[in-house]
């Protein structure tokens, strides 16, 4: 059986003491949630090799980090979607998509045209990144991350900076993504609708530790469902131990 992600990471970052043990199956979306400052973004950065913590990170048969081993970020087959998209402003949409694809080793299992179709980007491809809406930026960021041929997809609140309308527009793309991918996805989110729509499993983080990890009851499709039904699904997630941050 192929192994997914196995990570044990610990260390001090600012005032936060992180001590995490995390195992993800080879595919499926794990929502990572918990209060602000609990270490979710730090964990994402540490898995990406952007923040250096002690411990081990293994994905399948590859070791990214262990005693005496620390693969730098550019040697890890990751896709990262940042909260602010992190698009390269001097390149067009196509330039951004090509950036990781050109550097990824052959053969490319995730193909350019497929991802452009999946994310609905064909009309935007030659546009400057400055002329994209917030939702479009995030779609480009997700497509770009996928084209880098990752073995692990990390998403740090990709929808947090979007207004509710843009969020509603982008969720179907994420759902399509979820259904077509076979790699582990760690998805930081607060929003119950996002979690209800996307997550197979929910991990809750508090004060630098993962305090609970539960399977989400199936992946409910939002298609044809009313708002009330979605809310009910989110309630089910809450009952399963998920505690969202209260937004003011």
């Amino acid at each position: 059986m192929t192994r997914g992600l196995e990570a044990q990471l610990s260390g001090q970052v600012g005032t936060l003491t992180l001590d995490v043990s995390l195992t993800l199956p080879p595919s499926g979306v794990t929502a990572l949630t918990g209060p602000s400052g609990s270490g979710k973004s730090t964990l994402i950065r540490a898995l990406a090799g952007l923040t250096r913590l002690k411990g081990q990170v293994r994905i399948g048969d590859e070791t990214w980090q262990d005693e005496g081993v620390f693969e730098p970020t550019h040697r890890r087959a990751i896709g990262v979607v940042f909260q602010d998209a992190g698009l390269l402003s001097h390149l067009t949409v196509r330039g951004n998509l090509d950036f990781g694809l050109r550097r990824a080793p052959q053969p490319h299992t995730i193909r350019f045209d497929d991802v452009v179709d999946l994310m609905g980007l064909s009309g935007l491809i030659d546009r400057s990144t400055a002329r994209l809406s917030g939702g479009e930026r995030q779609r480009v960021a997700m497509a770009r991350a996928l084209l880098a041929q990752p073995r692990l997809l990390l998403m740090d609140e990709p929808l947090a900076s979007l207004d509710p309308e843009s969020k509603a527009l982008i969720l179907p793309y994420l759902q399509a993504l979820h259904q077509s991918l076979s790699l582990p996805v760690l998805y930081v989110a607060h929003d119950r609708e996002e979690i209800a729509t996307l997550a197979d499993r929910i991990a809750v983080m508090r004060a630098g530790r993962i305090t609970s990890m539960e399977d989400h009851a199936g992946v409910p499709s939002l298609e044809g469902r009313s708002r009330a039904e979605i809310e009910a699904l989110a309630q089910a997630a809450l009952d399963a131990g998920f505690r969202p941050r209260v937004r003011s």
Binding site: L50, H74, V80, L88, H90, F99, R103, A145, A148
Partner: protein, 219 residues
């Protein structure tokens, strides 16, 4: 007169190209994480802004003269002195304009932040790759400002070239020094011509920088 203008343009071009090459890695180092010694280094590299050009020229003259320790190092290569040579003038101009090259490039690198470099790393770009394919293109306006400032500053320098250049026609005699000599010998008409040319040049340079600044800020 054309010879003087040619020497000036040649000096400014060579100085600009070499100084941008030297300043880029230094500006990058200064723009990354803060360390106390970087502030000290930054202050040393900014000294040419506040030093009188004659003071700078005097020390450069000592350094480039035959008996200096620097020249002693170059003796094995057959170089005995660089004072009153075009090469010496290029070295002097580079030292004199150093802060004008480093500051805009450093500011552009700092304004970029860590984000683009981290994004590039997650897309499999090595640090050197990311530096060439992300940092340099994103800082292009800083490079343009630096190149324009260094070129203009070199064209306009007077004290340093007078001290270490010696105004040898065809080699080290530049426009600003020629104007001085023309005025001394009361040839006001010729002086007018060159001075008005430099005035127009300076005006054009500032206009270009203003336009660059504005397009840089546009969304």
């Amino acid at each position: 007169m054309l010879e003087v203008i040619w020497t000036t343009v040649r000096l400014a071009t060579v100085t600009t190209v070499l100084l941008i090459l030297v300043s880029t890695p230094v500006a990058w180092m200064l723009a990354r994480r803060r360390r106390w010694w970087k502030d000290v280094l930054g202050a040393v590299l900014s000294l040419p802004i506040v030093l009188p050009p004659t003071v700078l020229g005097f020390y450069l003259l000592l350094a480039l003269a035959p008996q200096s320790p620097l020249m002693a190092l170059l003796h094995p290569f057959g170089i005995r002195s660089l004072a009153f040579t075009f090469t010496g003038l290029v070295i002097g101009s580079m030292v004199y304009s150093l802060p004008f090259a480093i500051t805009p490039i450093r500011n552009a690198f700092e304004a970029m932040g860590e984000g683009p470099m981290e994004a590039a790393a997650t897309l499999r770009a090595s640090p050197l790759d990311a530096f060439c394919s992300v940092a340099i293109p994103q800082a292009r306006r800083g490079f343009a400002s630096a190149a324009i400032l260094v070129f203009a500053h070199t064209v306009g320098e007077f004290g340093v070239v007078l001290m270490i250049g010696g105004a040898i026609p065809g080699q080290t005699e530049v426009v600003s020094v020629r104007i001085y000599q023309l005025v001394e010998s009361l040839k006001f008409n010729e002086a007018h011509l060159l001075a008005a040319g430099l005035l127009a040049f300076a005006f054009c340079v500032l206009t270009v920088i203003a336009v660059l600044d504005r397009t840089g800020k546009a969304p």
